[in-house]
Each structure stands twice: as C-alpha cells, then as structure tokens.
C-alpha cells in the first residue's frame, strides 16, 4: 500500500517553496539543487500542480514558480489528490460500480475500507503547508 514517489516529491517541492521563497518566484533548477530531485521530474510534477491551481508561473528574468494560494489554504490532502486522484485504498469506496463481485450485495468488507479512507483523509486534510513551514522553521531554529 504505497504512495507514489511523485506524490511525496510534490509535497516536498511545495514545502520547499513555502519555506525558502514565500514571496518571490523560484527557479526549478534551484529547488532541484537543494532537494536532490531532478529538474525533469520536478517539471513533470509542477506541471500537474500548476494545472490544479496550486502553483503559478512567473515569466521573465526573475521568473519561476510561486505558490498560487496562501500556505494556510493548501493542505497535504489537496497535494496528494492532485497526483493520486483518489486517496481511497480500495476502489469501491468512491465507486460502487468498480466492484464486480457476484456477492457484493452481502459485502463484508467495504465498511472497513471506508473507515480506513476516513482515517487517511482526516489526517492529510488537517495538515497545511503553513503548519509544515512553521514546524520546520521551529525545528531548524532550535538547532536540530
């Protein structure tokens, strides 16, 4: 039950921007250098994040990427859904038609997958980029 690397890097890229360049556009090359994620991979990911309205591009000499919304309005859940589309670990949670079992009218397990989905969603929907930025900066400030 694994989350894609792409999702993890998407969050990492956004938190990097929120921490290091909250007000000015930043170039992918810079982010790649500091995070160790390749430029090509970041471009792919940022394209999706831009399409989802989480990032903006700025043209020109001082161009690059900028958060499209305030960090307190972007949750981890929003970022993950942009890449994964759906956070349910089993398809039937959001789409009953996805179940082709002949005995689905007596299904014994869908309620479990629904509760598991709730647990995952309530965790990721309650962490914002602002929360992460603040606790990252606190930790750094504490000399950790």
């Amino acid at each position: 039950m694994k989350l894609s690397t792409k999702s993890r890097y998407a969050l990492e890229g956004l938190v990097y921007i929120a921490v290091n360049s909250p007000n000015e556009a930043i170039r992918i090359r810079q982010i790649a250098q500091d995070t160790g994620i390749t430029v090509a991979y970041l471009e792919q990911i940022f394209f999706l994040l831009k399409k989802a309205g989480l990032l903006l591009t700025v043209r020109g000499a001082k161009g690059g990427f900028l958060l499209a919304q305030s960090p307190k309005d972007i949750t981890v859940g929003m970022v993950l859904r942009t890449i994964e589309h759906d956070l349910a670990p089993v398809k039937c949670v959001h789409d009953l038609q996805a179940c082709t079992s002949k005995v689905r009218s007596g299904c014994v397990s869908r309620q479990i997958w629904m509760r598991l989905t709730d647990a995952i969603e309530s965790t990721v929907d309650n962490i914002t980029l602002e929360d992460l930025k603040t606790s990252y900066l606190n930790r750094k400030g504490a000399g950790a």
């Binding site: 039950m1 160790g36 299904c107 479990i112 647990a119 962490i127």
Partner: protein
C-alpha cells in the same frame, strides 16, 4: 496507495470464517462459494495465514480452518499486516542519507499517516465486524447496490 487483491480477498475470507462461529472447522470450499473467490486462490492465502499464526488448519475429511484466537481478540491490523506484508505508505525504513527537509516530512507527514492507518485498523476487530454484519439490515444497507 492501494490494498492488494490478496489483502482484499484475504480479509473477506477471514471475516467469513469468523462468522461461522458454531462450526469447529470451516472448509475453504464453503468460503470460496459464499465469497465468490477461487478455491485455488484461497488455498494460497490460507496456507500463508496458517504459517503466520492467524488461522489453524485441520486435515482430514472433516477438516478445515479455524481462527487461532477469538474474533474479539483479533484486530484487522494483525490480519492485514500479514496479508499486505507492510502497511506503510512510504514503505521502507529511513534511508541513510536524506536531506533535512525530506527527513522532516517523513516524520511529520508520512509517519503520521501510517500511524492513523495503524490506529484505525487496530480499533477494528473481527468480533466487531461480525457483529455489525449480523445486525445490519441487508435489504436496507444494500439499497444502493
């Protein structure tokens, strides 16, 4: 981030087994028929569950499988952990070399999600599943199907 076929089918089969409480042993043939899962597939899953100590197998004409503990003592976490191998969203242990930011996200986000999955599954027992299933009004619950 998906639960594998083995995890989904295996859990259904185990809940089915837990529901046959007045039988000392349940044959895989019965479970296969009730749950519409291939018998051969179930054989593979159950030999695995037996080795992991989740079920006890009895050979012979009246043989079959039974839970190794009572349904109330068995959490869904115990079972899915065996079926899925591991339930972590990011999989592996912390790598030796990691940037400060990545280590931070692992602890603050990915480990927190793993913990919420673990807690949710530890709170649910086979006993509770059995109870919910018995109580629910089939015709009503399945109206949307």
């Amino acid at each position: 981030m998906k639960i594998s076929t083995r995890g989904r089918y295996g859990l259904r089969a185990i809940i089915d087994l837990a529901m046959q409480e007045n039988k000392s042993c349940v044959s895989l043939g019965e479970i296969a028929a009730r749950q519409d899962i291939s018998f051969h597939y179930l054989e593979g899953i159950f030999s695995y569950l037996r080795r992991a100590g989740i079920v006890i197998g009895t050979a012979g004409a009246l043989g079959g499988y039974t839970l190794s503990k009572t349904a109330l003592e068995m959490s869904l976490y115990d079972i899915l952990k065996v079926l899925e191998g591991q339930l972590s969203m990011t999989g592996d242990e912390a790598p030796e070399q990691e940037t400060e930011l990545r280590a931070f996200l692992r602890q603050e986000v990915w480990d927190a999600v793993d913990k919420s999955i673990e807690n949710a599954l530890k709170q649910m027992t086979l006993g509770e599943m059995k109870e919910t299933f018995r109580k629910r009004d089939d015709s009503n619950f399945c109206a949307g199907l």
